[in-house]
């Protein structure tokens, strides 16, 4: 049995150690917020936090995260950080088809937590692993700029 912390609760699975974390989240634990866009770590739709670090769950064999602290988008929905991003993505118009968005939100949160006052270049680098085909990125970058300003003080916490 492999045990790890997921969104604050201990979970366990008897899936093989090489099973992808993405599949355990979606198929066993019924969390649909983490999406599959490519299965090869190139699109970011499957982004999660492992021990507070942004990672692609399609590339994580669950054996390697035994005992780790994992967070999906569901795990951050109640936080102030999410609420600011939610608001700013709406104001900036950064959401179109929505498929990339949970991953983008995770990447945005990871970026701002590490770098609460990012430059434009920092922001673009922070989401460079998240593919978006609808928006051309600019309104998402705006959303993150806005979240840095509006959320001043919140990001330094955690």
């Amino acid at each position: 049995m492999i045990k790890f912390k997921l969104n604050g609760k201990i979970v366990e699975t008897d899936a093989p150690a090489t099973a992808r974390l993405l599949d355990i989240l979606r198929d066993e634990l019924d969390l649909i917020g983490t999406k599959e866009g490519c299965g090869e770590g190139e699109c970011g739709a499957c982004s999660v936090f492992v021990n507070n670090l942004l990672q692609n769950s399609c590339l994580i064999p669950i054996g390697s995260i035994a005992g780790a602290d994992v967070q999906t988008i569901e795990g951050i929905l109640e936080t102030d950080q999410f609420k600011i991003l939610d608001e700013c993505y709406s104001i900036a118009g950064g959401v179109q088809c929505g498929y990339c968005i949970p991953g983008m939100i995770m990447a945005s949160a990871a970026l701002l937590t590490k770098n609460p006052h990012p430059s434009e270049e920092d922001i673009r680098d922070g989401i460079s692993g998240n593919l978006c085909r609808c928006t051309g990125y600019n309104m998402i970058v705006e959303a993150i700029h806005l979240a840095a300003r509006k959320g001043d003080g919140i990001w330094q916490r955690k």
């Binding site: 093989p16 090489t18 099973a19 982004s47 590339l59 390697s64 692993g129 593919l131």
Partner: protein
């Protein structure tokens, strides 16, 4: 039709080495290469044909420290960790920054990049010109090997079944006055496999070239480097003469043999590799950039 998949995750290096000594295993560090290499399709685990040994958590493999002027880097340090570490040279950080994207850099390891031995491996040209050495541990002891001897071909390394790469050693790289450049040429600015890459190092003292090294990536099965051609330039003054530059570039023209593939063409790879070499050799300045 369930397949038995065995996996191991020990707390200590010595336990891990014992396992490697008893079975031929697939070693999994960050997994960013292995999980793609053995990827099946959506919804199922990858198809790894051997028992898997996880190593990226082992504390013995995550040390970064100095030994006189040598830099020792633990094989399972992630790119993200190296980017934050004060001892890592700027040029290496710049190369690491071109790898994939943040989420990959939070898992991928330097040891993994080396053992994957892709012809387009992003850290490899720099490691070659740093004359990097690899330390391998096994139940029988420790072995050190030059990176150029360790990597033997695409995805082929000189690692015995019971050995594990534990450290990468960059000799005399700390407090060094050399000027180092790295360029990766890809099809876009992130998440791109290199079509050509180039690393160059030059150290000038009293106006003469004291040391000069260059390595090319993605233009052959392994990195292309020639100490014989490098030695032609030792002792010369900067700026180099057009004759000298042409001589070196022409010589490399003969030994660089890239291929056509779905990413690029042989013509492009060779032309750009030589362009970058020419550019490097034509540089007038030589400031250290550590």
């Amino acid at each position: 039709m369930a397949e038995k998949i065995t996996a191991y995750r020990f707390d200590r290096l010595d336990q891990t080495l014992n396992q490697l000594n008893s079975e031929d295993c697939a070693i999994m560090a960050g997994g960013t290469d292995v999980m793609v290499l053995h990827k099946s399709r959506r919804g199922v685990p990858p198809k790894i044909p051997k028992p898997v040994v996880f190593i990226d958590h082992l504390p013995e493999l995550k040390q970064v420290y100095r030994n006189h002027k040598d830099l020792h880097i633990g094989a399972c340090c992630t790119y993200g960790e190296l980017l934050e570490h004060p001892l890592i040279p700027i040029a290496l950080k710049n190369a690491i920054q071109t790898i994939a994207a943040p989420a990959i850099r939070n898992r991928g390891t330097l040891g993994g990049n080396i053992c994957n031995a892709s012809p387009a491996g992003d850290t490899l040209p720099l490691l070659y010109i740093y004359n990097a050495k690899l330390q391998l541990h096994s139940v029988s002891g420790i072995r050190t090997v030059a990176i150029s001897d360790f990597i033997q071909g695409p995805r082929r390394v000189n690692r015995l079944q019971n050995e594990l790469v534990t450290e990468i050693i960059l000799p005399a790289v700390l407090d060094d006055e050399s000027h180092v450049i790295f360029e990766k040429v890809g099809n876009r600015n992130a998440d791109a496999i290199a079509k050509v890459s180039f690393a160059g190092l030059i150290r000038v003292s009293k106006g003469h070239i004291d040391d000069i090294r260059f390595a090319f990536g993605a233009v052959g099965p392994t990195m292309v480097r020639s100490s014989q051609l490098e030695s032609l330039l030792l002792g010369k003054t900067l700026p180099l003469t057009q004759t000298d530059i042409t001589q070196v570039v022409t010589a490399f023209d003969k030994i660089i043999n890239p291929i056509d593939d779905h990413r690029s063409t042989a013509f492009y790879r060779k032309k750009v590799a030589l362009n970058l070499l020419h550019y490097f050799l034509s540089l007038k300045h030589d400031q250290p950039n550590q």
